[in-house]
């Protein structure tokens, strides 16, 4: 009797979630935080993005996550929420009880548990927790933050990109091997792994992350925004050398990068880091600009990062596109690089310089001084050979480049000539002018 009632209540919630019945007024949801979460699943239903399809598919996915990483607390949380929405209250409670036992600081898990317990109360359709009814404004904000986190974890954790590929990452060199993508709008961090020479990289892990308190792209010191762009992890700081609020470790990144500096952006100390001891996770928008993971997730992520090498692309939205679109953009960029390499090898300095944008700069050079130097150097050459390898290609997040189509290349360049030989790792920024990719910055 008790179970039936609760079941029908949760079932109707499910219908609300699926958009089958409209959410009538607010009376229905009073006191039930999870009821306020009809939007993410509805968004899932309506979105063009693919979920794993059936509900069973979602459960299979979560069980797989748990079998691969038993400490994947988010998978356990989402499983419990799905069970709750399916009306399987006992199973949902068992799952969430096991979760809070293992992650006793996971505030959101306690919120979900509260709702599941509340739904067990006989006749609880409009049952109210007097505790939730009498929150101070500050506590109401805390509750809202937890719901935001739940929403983000539901969307980020259940939306799958299927066969689509991230436009921001078009190639991964063999030494770089892995890249990090951060989607600020969905508070999700993806780890992508190189899978071969002409095979697209694969998402191997994804995590919920907290980002800056303020919306938008970082412009200046103290604006509490997370920068958008193509960055690289520069170093590793262990727990022992960090204040407690950074949790189990930190990876500083090279914000402001060459483009940011060129654009006059200020500030520093944009890191990937863990969570304050005593807290499991933080609200979606809670940092001063850093990208924050739970300590458990950070410890998993740590294995995938090589300081000095691993790229981190941060975008408001990672663009997931069909493989054919992805391949054509990749092809176009590779062709531009190859054309630049050939023209450079040809010893025809004008052909070579035609690949450089008007606004080009490098350390100590602008386009003119760069041209003069290249002309001078070319005089002594009888031949030169350039070999490019280990190429990684990133499309720059649009908003971060003021709407321009831009790309970042990281490659290994082996230069040999009659009088000089060098091998170095280069970073090249390109922008697209008049339908052609041109070099905007070159440095090593």
């Amino acid at each position: 009797m008790k179970k039936c009632f609760a079941k029908s209540w949760v079932y109707s919630l499910g219908l609300v979630a699926m958009g089958v019945i409209p959410l009538g007024g607010s009376a229905q949801g009073d006191g039930f935080p999870l009821l306020a979460m009809h939007t993410p699943l509805q968004a899932l239903e309506n979105s063009s993005q693919q979920t794993s399809g059936s509900l069973q598919g979602l459960f299979d996915e979560l069980n797989l996550r748990l079998s691969e990483h038993p400490a994947d607390y988010e998978a356990s949380l989402l499983k419990s929420i799905l069970l709750f929405r399916e009306g399987q209250l006992d199973k949902a409670l068992t799952e969430i009880n096991a979760l809070v036992a293992r992650a006793p600081d996971f505030n959101l898990a306690y919120l979900v548990r509260g709702d599941i317990l509340m739904a067990q109360v006989h006749g609880a359709k409009a049952a109210e927790s007097s505790l939730l009814e009498h929150l101070t404004p500050e506590q109401q904000n805390q509750l809202k933050s937890l719901l935001d986190e739940a929403r983000m974890r539901l969307v980020g954790g259940l939306v799958k990109h299927g066969n689509k590929l991230p436009r921001q990452l078009l190639a991964l060199g063999e030494s770089v091997n892995r890249a990090i993508l951060v989607d600020k709008s969905q508070h999700r961090l993806y780890v992508l792994q190189r899978s071969g020479n002409d095979v697209p990289p694969k998402v191997v892990m994804d995590f919920y992350v907290s980002t800056g308190k303020q919306d938008g792209n970082k412009e200046e010191r103290g604006d509490l925004r997370t920068p958008e762009g193509v960055y690289f992890v520069t170093s590793w700081i262990p727990k022992e050398k960090l204040p407690e609020k950074y949790g189990v470790g930190a990876f500083p990144m090279n914000y402001p990068n060459e483009l940011d500096q060129r654009m006059g952006k200020t500030g520093d100390g944009i890191w990937l880091h863990g969570t304050d001891t005593g807290f499991f996770s933080r609200p979606p928008q809670d940092s001063e600009g850093c990208v924050v993971l739970t300590n458990a997730d950070f410890n998993v992520l740590k294995q995938y990062i090589t300081p000095g090498l691993t790229p981190v692309v941060i975008a408001e939205q990672v663009e997931w596109v069909d493989e054919s679109d992805w391949l054509s953009e990749r092809k176009e960029l590779f062709a531009a690089l190859e054309s630049w390499r050939e023209d450079w090898e040809s010893l025809d300095v004008d052909r070579y310089l035609s690949h450089y944008a008007e606004g080009f700069w490098s350390a100590g050079f602008d386009r003119n001084s760069w041209a003069s130097r290249k002309r001078l150097v070319a005089q002594g050459k009888t031949f030169q050979k350039i070999k490019l390898s280990d190429i990684s290609l990133f499309l720059y997040p649009r908003r971060a480049s003021n709407g321009q189509a831009m790309a970042v290349v990281r490659l290994n360049q082996l230069y040999t000539s009659n009088n000089y030989t060098s091998e170095l790792n280069k970073r090249i920024y390109l922008n697209r002018e008049n339908g052609h990719w041109q070099i905007l910055y070159e440095g090593s």
Binding site: M1, K2, N107, L108, A109, Y110, L111, R113, G114, D115, L117, M118, Q120, V121, H122, G123, A127, S129, S130, L131, L132, E133, H134, L135, Q139, Q142, L143, L146
Partner: protein, 377 residues
């Protein structure tokens, strides 16, 4: 066949005589418990148990005495024993859960109540208490989610307790009785014994031992029903549950057969305080007369709204009563003075209160409530 019948009747006679003796002893023990003399009450029930070691009503009272005396581990063992022997009785589950709840072991309380409900889906008291446990657990979980209150003491929850068994398996008394006091043979031809497969019965809603058994020892014989212990018992009439919530009106009598009004009003007020403490507004209001008004200017409805608002506002409330004084008033009413300790999150006070109770609609209800004196907390 005849031999068998006589044997059963011997037993039956024993039961009846034993019953009357035991009823008065039990009544006495209850009375002692009501006065807080738990040691004496325990002696009394132990004496009864010597001759009737498996009697559920006595075992239940013994468990209550142990619980009241604060020996929770013995009380838990006593309730567990009852549950093991009489798994179909709902009250032991209920009271056992109440002990765990007050210790803050809400998961244990929940498990015990669920267990009780698995054989007693219709026993509303178990449902009510289970709901209380779930609400409390939910609030605990919410407060952990928001990191509101790390105070461990808020884990404790007071649940409504049952004071007597409403359904006693008669066969339990008869067959478990190892040392019948009297074995006077009966000569009259007995009525056919009803077989287990064809009959079930409900015991009178009034708890068996409190009403002195006045049946003559020979005729007519009590209906002997061999209800298997595991058979689903019939659900108690709803009025019984309500009257218990209101303090066993008309049920609690002392040995001389007079209503123990002091005990009744005391337990009524304790129930009132418990309802207030768990912020159960419906039950709380039920302790007052239907037309209760705090003063001429406030309507009953306005008062209920006001109370609802006040009772719900704090995260938790604890009301403790002490030093009961019951005096007869006019028109059969009673005046109760008591010291009330009220505590809510961030506030507490201590007042001398005075209640006037009138007997209305089968229950003692509050018709007037005053704070007589504000005491130092």
């Amino acid at each position: 066949m005849k031999k068998n019948q006589i044997a059963v009747l011997c037993l039956l006679g024993g039961v009846i005589v034993t019953a009357s003796v035991y009823a008065s002893s039990l009544g006495h023990a209850r009375d002692l418990l009501g006065r807080g003399e738990t040691a004496a009450a325990l002696d009394e029930v132990e004496a009864v148990l010597k001759n009737n070691e498996a009697d559920p009503q006595t075992l239940f009272l013994r468990a209550r005495i142990l619980a009241t005396s604060g020996d929770s581990s013995k009380a838990i063992a006593a309730y567990e024993r009852l549950i093991k022997q009489y798994p179909t009785l709902p009250e032991p589950y209920n009271n056992l859960a109440a002990i765990y709840a007050v210790q803050g072991k809400l998961e244990r309380a929940r498990e015990v109540l669920e267990r009780g409900l698995s054989s007693h889906a219709g026993f509303s008291e178990l449902h009510r208490n289970l709901n209380q446990v779930y609400l409390h657990l939910a609030d605990q979980s919410y407060s952990k989610a928001l990191r509101l209150n790390e105070d461990k003491s808020s884990d404790a929850l007071e649940l409504e307790q049952q004071t007597a068994l409403t359904q006693v398996p008669l066969s339990g008394i008869a067959l478990a009785s190892t040392k019948p006091v009297v074995t006077k043979p009966l000569t009259k031809t007995p009525q056919p014994i009803v077989s287990a497969s064809t009959a079930a019965t409900t015991v009178p809603a009034v708890p068996v031992p409190v009403a002195p058994v006045v049946a003559p020892p020979v005729t007519p014989p009590l209906p002997v029903v061999n209800v298997p212990v595991a058979a689903p018992a019939k659900i108690a009439a709803p009025q019984t549950v309500v009257s218990q919530a209101k303090g066993e009106v008309g049920g609690s009598k002392n040995i001389s057969g007079e209503v123990d009004i002091k005990g009744v009003l005391q337990s009524t007020l304790l129930g009132w305080a418990a309802a207030w403490s768990r912020r159960d507004i419906a039950t709380y209001v039920g302790y007052y007369a239907d037309n209760y008004q705090p003063d001429a200017a406030t309507s009953h409805e306005a008062w209920v709204d006001q109370r609802r608002e006040r009772i719900r506002r704090p995260a938790w409330i604890k009301v403790k009563l002490e030093e009961f004084d019951v005096q007869p008033g006019r028109d059969g009413q009673y005046v109760v003075q008591v010291i009330q300790n009220y505590a809510a999150k961030g506030y507490h006070d201590r007042n001398q209160k005075q209640f006037i109770f009138a007997h209305q609609a089968d229950a003692w209800r509050i018709i007037d409530e005053q704070t007589v004196k504000v005491l130092a907390p």
